[in-house]
């Protein structure tokens, strides 16, 4: 029986990693388009990139990295049977995730107000590559934002289970897998940040 539980744990771990691979490939399609259009329109991408507000991206990077650490810590806490600590860490993770989205909301609003959104008059009359840059930017960060939202729901669910004690030092695979998902969201952002805010 112990053997079987152990096997189930390892299976769940393998399964979530396979799922993360599909997420990487999903975003991969957008990164492919980014690479393709960057090579085609380097100057337009650069001028569009200069319209980005670094402060937003920078702040969100710090927030997301911190949240990722907190998620990892909540796993450590559960493993060490520190339930209260685990709950605090999870709460802080979710808090960071919400901050991220709020920040994103302000960033998008400010960009939309400046006339940068798919099919906007300002972009339609501007150089061709700039519109592509912003289309990709909205699609990529939008898809990423959707993942953040799913992550919030997932982590909330996990928090409830931790507080009920259904996730504990003997059985924490759901927490571990949700944390892995959350780290992936962080990982994707680690690449979005330089590509859209810095390199251009």
């Amino acid at each position: 029986m112990i053997q079987r539980d152990e096997n189930r744990y390892a299976g769940a771990k393998l399964g979530i990693w396979l799922f993360l691979f599909t997420e990487i490939l999903l975003f991969g399609g957008l990164f492919l388009l980014y690479a393709a259009y960057l090579s085609q329109y380097p100057h337009e991408f650069a001028s569009a990139g200069h319209e980005m507000q670094l402060a937003f991206g920078f702040a969100n990077t710090l927030v997301l990295i911190t949240s990722s650490m907190l998620a990892a810590m909540s796993l450590t806490a559960v493993q060490l049977r520190e339930q209260r600590k685990a709950l605090i860490m999870l709460g802080a993770t979710i808090f960071c995730a919400i901050i991220f989205l709020v920040n994103k909301y302000f960033e998008w609003s400010s960009e939309i107000n400046s006339g940068f959104y798919p099919n906007s008059p300002r972009l339609a009359t501007g150089p061709m590559g700039e519109a592509l840059y912003f289309s990709l930017y909205y699609l990529t960060t939008g898809l990423h934002g959707l993942h953040v939202l799913i992550g919030i729901v997932l982590l909330t669910l996990v928090s409830v289970k931790v507080s009920h004690g259904t996730i504990h030092a003997g059985n924490y695979v759901l927490l571990e897998n949700s944390a892995l998902y959350w780290h992936l969201v962080d990982l994707i952002w680690i690449f979005i940040f330089p590509l859209y805010y810095l390199v251009l």
Partner: protein, 98 residues
Amino acid sequence: MALEKHETGVHVISYKVLMMVWLTLMILTGLTVWVSRQDLGVGHILGSLAIAVAKGGLVIAFFMHMSFEGRLLRWLLFVALLTLAVFIGFTFFDLAYR
């Protein structure tokens, strides 16, 4: 089989290690912003991506516990990343020579 059996051991990463990783990630984030303000030409893309890869590696190795996993998962991760690289890279057989 033998290779797969090893992966199931419990490994706890201490708060201290996680903090250290976090600190490194923060420093790298600062570094990548600083690099982007230098006049490097193409170096920007390569430099920023190199730092991003380093950061991603840290997240995968420590936050995601990959450094404690068995060989199987590492190989599979390698295959997945290689596949993505091929998908993007091979498209440039077209784009780069059009």
